[in-house]
């Protein structure tokens, strides 16, 4: 009766033997070396631990504010362009006025030197 299961037993032994054999062979034959850079957690090549209080130039502030300003302009332009035909000449005049105001602002910051990084 139990003889029927001898094949299963052999299969289990072979499977365990192969697995253990591979792990043991790898641990004996495989070259190993440990150093701090290698033992760090893998973070796609970046350092996994950095200070959250990193400093960056205050010039980014002005750039960011100006970017948001002209980004909003683009945000307004898209829906305006989508219903341009319904709005007709009135819509065109309104938008040109809006862009003109922003254009004056752009000239102002340009003249003030806000677009120069240095």
């Amino acid at each position: 009766m139990l003889n029927q299961y001898a094949g299963v037993l052999i299969l289990i032994l072979l499977a365990v033997g192969t697995t253990v054999g591979m792990v043991v062979a790898a641990s004996i034959l495989g070259p190993k070396i440990k150093f701090p850079d290698k033992m760090e957690p893998f973070e796609c090549g970046k350092s996994p631990l950095v200070s959250p209080r990193q400093r960056f130039s205050v010039k980014f502030y002005l750039t960011a504010v100006l970017f948001i300003l002209f980004d909003i302009e683009a945000v307004f332009l898209y829906p305006w362009a989508a219903i341009f035909k319904q709005l007709g000449w009135f819509g065109l005049a309104e938008m040109l006025l809006f862009i003109a105001v922003l254009g004056i602002g752009l000239l102002y910051v340009w003249k003030k030197g806000a677009l120069n990084w240095e």
Binding site: I28, G30, F35, D37, K38, F42
Partner: protein, 176 residues
């Protein structure tokens, strides 16, 4: 430490037939079971997809499986331009790879900087990590990559236990 170093086998036995045969068998296993780490940064990546795909089929050479953790990879394929901004990342990934490890410089940008002869580009990744095989071309044809892979396999077959571990990249700070 490999068996050769840890047991002092090569020192004691020299080119003994047992050790060299074991070496041959291990190298035979290694050369047909590359696990890739695809460090792909630029346009050569398209060609890498082609060579990894079914038409050119790197699987035939045992180098099929891309691993996205360097812990599981042993062949780093540096595919595409490496800028100086990217260089520390490349070095770190190389350092974090499991031993034994090999590096293939894929495409002329990794080999020598290519036509990016400028301040932003690393002029050949062999200036920062050891490279085992160079496959130039812009981009290299898949046949060239396969040829390079076969040459790398031949190189692996001729390696000794004492060639490993390779350890950290020479440019990384020694904090041993």
């Amino acid at each position: 430490m490999g068996i050769g170093k840890s047991l002092g086998m090569e020192k004691g036995l020299g080119e003994n037939v047992i050790l060299t045969k074991l070496n041959d068998i291990v190298n035979w296993g290694r050369k047909y079971s590359f696990f890739l780490y695809p460090f792909i940064t630029a346009c050569c990546g398209m060609e890498f997809m082609s060579v990894a795909g079914p038409r050119y089929d790197m699987d035939r050479f045992g180098a099929a499986l891309p691993r996205f953790s360097p812990r599981q990879a042993d062949l780093m394929m540096v595919v595409g331009t490496i800028s100086h901004k990217q260089a520390p990342i490349l070095v770190k990934v190389y350092n974090q790879m499991a031993e034994p490890k090999w590096v293939m410089a894929y495409g002329v940008c990794t080999v020598s900087g290519g036509f990016y002869d400028n301040y932003a580009t690393v002029q050949g990744i062999d200036t920062i990590i050891p490279v085992d095989i160079y496959v130039p071309g812009c981009p290299p044809r898949p046949e060239m990559v396969l040829d390079g892979l076969i040459k790398l396999q031949n190189k692996v077959q001729s390696e000794k236990f004492s060639d490993f571990p390779k350890g950290p990249s020479p440019v990384s700070k020694p904090k041993m």
